[in-house]
């Protein structure tokens, strides 16, 4: 077996949480263990989903892997280097719950932002951007938005904005894609279509994907493996992985899979695992 491309070993994250102070003082600092002893290995080319109830620390796990937060304890590696370096070297890319586009840049400029920030003469951008336009066109074609390249993001629908965010995440040609409930705010029709587009990208580009969601069906439909997060014995202790469901359904997957009995079986397993995870609390 090849070494894992995403490696989390006994990772923990504790936040300092301040209680608001009254007029006369008396506020206290509390330590809140959000994630405790979280271990997860993802193989190259694997599609792994993380599910769990709201507030169980899914986003924190993803932020640790994206290098946005530093772990309080444990060892993390992405592409055989610290998460922060993997992200900065363009090997690993993140897509957030919200598109997080810059309102003052056109769709095209938003997609080129990662390249612009890497350009050694970025301050001369108006003269430099020409050489990147080809790339922007390619990326926008992969998410079917090439007709909208000169629009401001605000003019696009929520689903289209999230597709721009996907295009931006692919700009540096990453090997690993981290997605944090990217389609959570979308209607079901759009969400289904986005799932298929994500699968298409995953299969075409040989990506490794870690996908955070709270939808069991979405997780089963997309993934090779679904890990279920839940809290330990007391609500004060943080979450770690409590169950795992292997989804050995064939690829490439199409919308037809969602009518398949084998699909329903895995969803049932996932639901049972999630229920057990919650009962542990």
């Amino acid at each position: 077996m090849p070494p894992p491309i995403v490696h989390m070993e006994q990772a923990s994250k504790t936040y300092e949480v301040g209680r608001p102070r009254g007029l006369l003082g008396g506020g206290i600092q509390q330590a809140l263990d959000v994630v405790v002893n979280f271990s997860l290995d993802v193989q190259p080319g694997e599609f792994v989903s993380v599910i769990g109830p709201s507030g169980c620390g899914k986003t924190t796990v993803l932020f640790l892997l994206a290098g946005i937060r530093t772990p309080s304890a444990g060892r993390l590696e992405v592409c055989a280097r610290p998460p922060r370096d993997a992200v900065r070297d363009g090997l690993c890319s993140v897509i957030f719950q919200q598109p997080v586009l810059l309102d003052w840049l056109s769709v095209e400029e938003n997609v080129l932002l990662p390249l612009r920030l890497r350009d050694p003469r970025w301050w001369l951008w108006p003269g430099r951007r020409g050489q990147y336009l080809e790339r922007a066109g390619q990326l926008l074609r992969t998410v079917d938005l090439d007709a909208f390249s000169h629009y401001y993001p605000e003019k696009l629908s929520g689903g289209m904005q999230q597709r721009v965010a996907i295009a931006r995440a692919l700009t540096l040609d990453p090997q690993v894609l981290l997605l944090d409930e990217p389609f959570g705010a979308l209607d079901e029709i759009t969400r289904d279509r986005m799932n298929l587009e994500l699968l298409r990208l995953y299969e075409q580009r040989a990506l490794t994907i870690l996908f955070v969601t709270h939808s069991i069906e979405e997780a089963v439909f997309l993934s090779d493996r679904v890990v279920v997060m839940g809290r330990g014995a007391s609500p004060r202790t943080g979450s770690s992985i409590v169950r795992e469901v292997i989804v050995d359904l064939p690829r490439p997957r199409t919308a037809a899979l969602k009518e398949d009995a084998a699909f329903f079986q895995r969803v049932r397993e996932g639901r049972a695992a999630l229920r057990e995870a919650q009962q542990l609390q």
């Binding site: 997080v100 920030l117 007709a147 279509r193």
Partner: protein
Amino acid sequence: MVQDTAHSAPPVHAVPRRTPFADLGSWTAFAAFVIVAWEIGSRVYNQPYLLPAPSQIITALREDAPLVLYYAGITTQETVLGFVAGSALALLGAMLFVWLPRALENFLYRAVVTLNSTPFVALASLVVVWFGLGITSKVVIAGLYTFFAVLYHAHKEFISVDPMREYLMDVYNASWLQRMLLLKLPSALPIIFTSLKGGVMAAVNGAIVGELFGAFEGLGYMILDSRYVGNTVRVFLAAVFCTMIGWVLLGIVTVAERLLLPWHVSMARERP
């Protein structure tokens, strides 16, 4: 599969573009309304010493137009120089604040607040003592007025950027300058423009206050001088010119705002 509207080109049709000068007509109409109402009001009131009519003011302007225009030129010069220097320093200052370590930032912020709570009139008379009766002291005072009008807003906006966007900049390894120029400055720009509009008016104020404290020329000098000899018409004439300077400069800032912020929600044709 569901038909995706995004696969085809968006349905676009030409719409007349709104020029940055779209408001010029309504402003002219407003000015005409004010002048007519003022003329009628002062004729009915009939106390030319207290409230001269616009026609009297125009007559006074005809009598010594060269001098008044020269004074207006001086005041405009002071205002513009003070505004440009004051707002540039305020923006640079706000950037410096977020660049400095927290303790130094707090220290400097307190220094600025202290200076700002000193009565401006006291500050202005000192500036005239320090920089003399010429144009420099008025530029400094106008600059100070603008500086304080802009600094607080710019600083607050620079530290209030959406954290997710800051994370995005983390992820793409943006340098301090990239973060400032590509994220913090553009997201602060709408509020900065609002404060610049206040700043331009404050600059006119500052220039006039400076002239009141000691000058041999300018509209503020004209106000003081005319009041001594009881020539209210000329006081009004100077005040009208001050207003016009404010209007024109405000107009320039507004046009710049429209050109620079086409993406902002406040520029939308329709409002909720």
